[in-house]
Subunit: 215 residues, 2 copies
DNA sequence: ATGGTATTGATAATTTTTTGACAAAACCTT
DNA sequence: AAGGTTTTGTCAAAAAATTATCAATACCAT
């Protein structure tokens, strides 16, 4: 219930799902949502939903549930959607450009402040609101405006090196899109967002299904 | 130890990390890896590594560890990297195009067999090896070659509708990149790979750090 | 206003996951 | 060839996460 307590990791990973859902509900004009409704919509149990929301600064009301406006507000606050985070993307390849041109980030509190590459031919080009800068200028650029999050969108072979550059520049949170585990000091948080891993998870599920259907 | 047993979900999510690591080791010419070495490299405990690998069809050897070639082989097999999966991408926008042009998927057993969009202007364009086709032709195209996996790369507002088209076309596994929970029948597996959620996870970690440093 | 009822918040039970511990295995050195 | 040592595989313990349960709450219909 207190914001200073540590929220368990599995809960943190579900919070964005609650936020998406409650935003949809509000768009539909729904003002109250019970734990059961939320659970059904997201494939959870109502008990899990209530446990999870007990970590938020919010109380539900008997017979009505949780007020959607209030729920959205606390979720946005916990997930940092209310304050603007400054983000740099390293790697202006296919994926880096797609991210830079993706408008939805700014609406959720993530402003792309820089896009860096080592390829001279790319430098100066604009993608979204970001101009490609030389990777050699990373340190000086990051010095100008405090950068919260670095996104690694370079080939796996360069991922560790880029991670170290980000750490040296003082970045405390890294989103790693490369298919490679990166080592960082313990004061830096890394989250991997690997599409390949998700595909492999699906491939495992498909393999299991085939086995089961064979008997 | 038997391939027919159900491997726990947390284990499945770690397997791709082991695969990445063991492939790197092999490239370096390393032939044996102990659970401790693997644990150190990936930020786990050696106990967890041994537990996880006990689900694979493989045995380590005292004083040497696991043979990297064998480990890679069983991981590839479990994660479906040995057989080719047929994949379609729905949505030829920034993200869909980046995926279509991403060469690494084919090397891991995922062949992009189709790229679909509803925008007439995009139809016929080539991205990677895939030509953009009309979403209206999804059913007939999927009929021609058995599609294993569908990737949703359309705006959130269209995600549910696209999911239903994929299900109707007989697709059994869906990778959802849209920031929206989709509902599918229970025989279909969905994995969400949402970059936004990963960023929000980082934002939470940053918020916590700030709190702690304030005392 | 009152009573029936749906839904919360809290606690307890259960299940799952992670970690610890150690005998057995088999390597390597001498 | 034997002994010391490292590392596995397994089992047990601990920790964490999920689910079930239920008294308390406060809504809503009458
Ligand atoms: N494209 C996808 O759909 C996709 C999906 C999942 C993961 N990924 C991963 O994301 C990463 C980028 O993928 P991509 O498709 O954009 O690759 P890409 O080859 O299109 O782009 C990589 C970019 O990084 C730049 N680069 C290389 N080394 C650098 C360095 N040391 N410093 C700065 N810039 C450097 C290159 O010049 C290039 O512009 C890869 O690790 C890839 O595996 C990509
Ligand atoms: N671009 C990113 O970096 C990024 C990152 C994370 C998540 N996403 C998510 O991925 C999805 C796609 O993002 P994007 O940046 O590629 O968007 P985009 O607007 O560039 O592309 C979306 C494409 O989908 C097509 N489309 C829309 N409705 C369709 C339908 N019913 N059937 C077929 N095609 C349809 C559009 O014509 C368009 O070409 C979004 O849900 C977005 O939130 C994108």
């Amino acid at each position: 219930m207190h914001s200073s307590e540590q929220i368990p990791h599995p809960v943190i990973r579900r919070l964005p799902k609650y936020l998406v859902h409650v935003q949809e509900l509000r768009e539909e004009g729904v003002e109250w949502a019970s734990s059961q409704e939320i659970a059904d919509a997201l494939g959870l149990t109502s008990s899990t939903v209530r446990q999870d929301l007990s970590h938020m600064e919010l109380r539900g009301i008997s017979k009505k549930g949780y007020e959607t406006s209030q729920l959205e507000a606390v979720l946005r606050q916990v997930l940092g959607a209310d304050i603007m985070h400054h983000v740099v993307i390293i790697g202006a390849g296919h994926l880096g450009r797609a991210l830079a041109e993706h408008g939805a980030f700014a609406r959720r509190g993530f402003e792309i402040c820089g896009l860096f590459d080592r390829d001279e031919d790319l430098i100066g080009k604009m993608y979204g609101n970001a101009e490609v800068m030389s990777i050699d200028d990373l340190a000086t650029q990051v010095g100008k405006v405090k950068i919260d999050i670095g996104i690694i969108a370079v080939p796996s072979s360069a991922a560790q090196q880029v991670a170290e550059m980000l750490v040296d520049a003082g970045v405390k949170a890294i989103l790693n899109l490369a298919y490679k585990h990166i080592q960082v000091p313990s004061h830096v948080t890394v989250v991997d967002a690997r599409i390949m891993e998700s595909l492999q998870e699906l491939a495992y599920a498909l393999g299991k299904k085939k086995e089961v259907s064979r008997g």
